[in-house]
């Protein structure tokens, strides 16, 4: 089954219709997704700015990791749950959205950054834990994180707009390719 077929199957499920057409459920899930930006991206930004040596420079990096990152993770769990529900409510259109696809790419890059930082950079923190100005590898991770999460927020917000939707043609060839638009059967 292709991903598009899977999304079409999702769209036909009862839960999808209920969620999409509910007067309060969809706005509630959507609002929660936005509200938890305060916690998730908010705490991520503080953590990134510490890595960049801009704020809380007197706090050891390992202490920040122990005390702040659990809140980032808690916020992320809610973002994932509400985010999955938002996709589930409008599966086909979201799957074929250039903004959603851009967001997915930025998310993957953000995870590569996190994985690399925790695997290769943070384990060596002992030598620079208390420094205000951290080594370039750590500052680089903070900078990449801020830029990527900002792009993720912007791309995420733009999913709501239909400028590049597949059912609005003609679109530039790149859009049709990137969104995976499928030509209607008779054309």
């Amino acid at each position: 089954m292709s991903l598009l077929a899977f999304c079409e199957w999702l769209a036909a499920t009862e839960g999808c219709t209920t969620l999409r057409e509910s007067l309060f459920l969809y706005p509630l899930v959507e609002s929660s997704h936005v509200l938890f930006l305060l916690l998730f991206v908010g705490m991520t930004v503080i953590w990134d700015l510490r890595l960049l040596g801009v704020v809380l420079t007197d706090v050891p990096v390992t202490e920040m990791a122990d005390r702040v990152l659990p809140w980032v993770r808690a916020g992320f769990v809610v973002m994932v749950i509400t985010g999955v529900l938002l996709v589930y409510a409008i599966p086909v259109r979201t799957y074929q959205s250039v903004w959603f696809r851009a967001k997915a790419i930025f998310l993957i890059l953000a995870f590569v950054n996190i994985w690399y930082f925790h695997r290769k950079v943070l384990p060596n923190a002992a030598t620079w834990d208390r420094d205000a100005r951290l080594p370039w590898v750590a500052r680089r991770a903070g900078l990449a994180s801020i830029v990527l999460w900002a792009l993720i927020i912007v791309a995420g917000r733009f999913i709501a707009y239909n400028w590049y939707d597949c059912d609005i043609q003609p679109q530039p060839a790149f859009v049709n390719w990137f969104a995976g638009c499928v030509a209607p059967p008779n054309q």
Binding site: P27, V34, L35, L37, G42, L56, V68, I153, V154
Partner: protein, 162 residues
Amino acid sequence: MLLPFFEWCETVWLGRVVVGSLWLFPVIEAVHLLALSVLGGAILIVDLRMLGFGLQRQSIRSIARQARPFLIGAIVGLIATGIPLFLSEPTKCYYNNAFWVKMTALAAALLYTFTIRATAIAAASDEPGTPVRETARQMVAGALSIALWVTVAAAGRWIGFS
């Protein structure tokens, strides 16, 4: 009573520029969300500490002092982007309950943050290296701050739904 003012807002050039553009509203809205995220960090890193979570080993005053430029910067960014968003549809806002809830909560949150919360922070001990247990006053101040700002953000999102 305020309706004539809101109707006059319809004529302000900035709002007309936003309405006349396909991209401007979404872009400003996205920047509004970016500033909201920074506000979340600047508020929560302090409020969580006041509640006894997060950076427990650091003094409340030290965290608040360092978070302050980001708090101010985020508020300035939110207002600077919020004004053109409002000017693009002032009459719609006038008849929108969520808009009034948001503006009331915003006034309360701003007033609260720079008076009661600031005083509660200033009253906290600030001896370097000796974390002091947060008092009931600080805990209430932190919880109220979260409640107020979450109300502002939630009502703000709800403007778009109604």
